[in-house]
Symmetry: C2
Subunit: 166 residues, 2 copies
């Protein structure tokens, strides 16, 4: 199948078998990294919180390879200690953020406009190492399309040239 | 199709059309309620945070109708003000919680072991009314099965008779 459910529950029981020799969290993380690093043309990321150095390095690597990376995040969380957002901006990656009091709470990424990665997982070290989380990877257009549309809508809505100043 | 992507982004732009006459957040919420209330035999819920009175009432209604409701949640969040967990327990619904320092961060429910509802949305009033969120509803076995397995694994792991006391 072109689709696959990846349950990345990181914490707790050791009873869940994993086919690779890495620790469980590295195993789920390495599968996520492999999906991201398969990007050839574009990577659209929409994340409430992003602090994982490994995932940050992967995104920067794609940017250096010429992949068009766009990043949307939550204004309240992007300035917190450990956030990767400043590093991504410094590397020249376009980042936009919400202007609302509520949270931009999505946790998804779209690779080459055809592979959706979504779930409960924020890309944080705490989530990867200590939380019970899920990540779904899917290529069915019926699922990918609404998230692509949502990304484009948010990307325009958070365009700084559209801000209204009070 | 038996599957449907429901993007329940509640906050922000009014430009997104909705086929029903309710306000946008009520529209997405009413669609979620309708899916839940379609349960005939079982409802398995696995949520980091649960404070929405409407969703709490729906779960209690299903319990009174004889639907087997099982609830898993995060220990750190279930005691917070506004949590529905105490009310659900008081109504006789079985609730189990994690024993870990990390978060039980899943946000999914499974209706009659065949319909998966998952996404970024915690069932909180703040998330429904103010956040940008997504909810996926899917009946494909390839997606439902891993979440069913995860639920059963967690349900057993969090069984109080299995606790180790130090």
């Amino acid at each position: 199948s072109c689709t696959e459910a990846v349950l990345a529950e990181a914490a707790g029981a050791a009873a869940r078998p994993c086919p690779c020799p890495l620790p469980r969290e590295d195993c789920a993380l390495s599968r996520l990294l492999r999906r991201l690093l398969s990007a050839r043309r574009s990577l659209d990321i929409c994340l409430f919180a992003f602090s994982s150095p490994q995932l940050g390095r992967a995104v920067q690597l794609l940017h250096r390879r010429g992949v068009r990376v766009r990043m949307v995040t939550d204004a309240q969380y992007m300035g917190l200690q450990g956030s990767q957002i400043g590093l991504l901006r410094h590397a020249g990656i376009q980042v936009r953020h919400d202007q609302e009091s509520g949270y931009m709470h999505h946790k998804f990424a779209i690779v080459d406009r055809r592979m959706l990665i979504t779930g409960s997982l924020n890309w944080t070290t705490q989530a990867i190492h200590s939380n019970r989380e899920n990540v779904l990877v899917m290529e069915d257009a019926e699922y990918v399309k609404p998230f692509l549309d949502e990304f484009e809508r948010i990307w325009e809505e958070y365009n700084p040239t559209n801000y209204t100043f009070f």
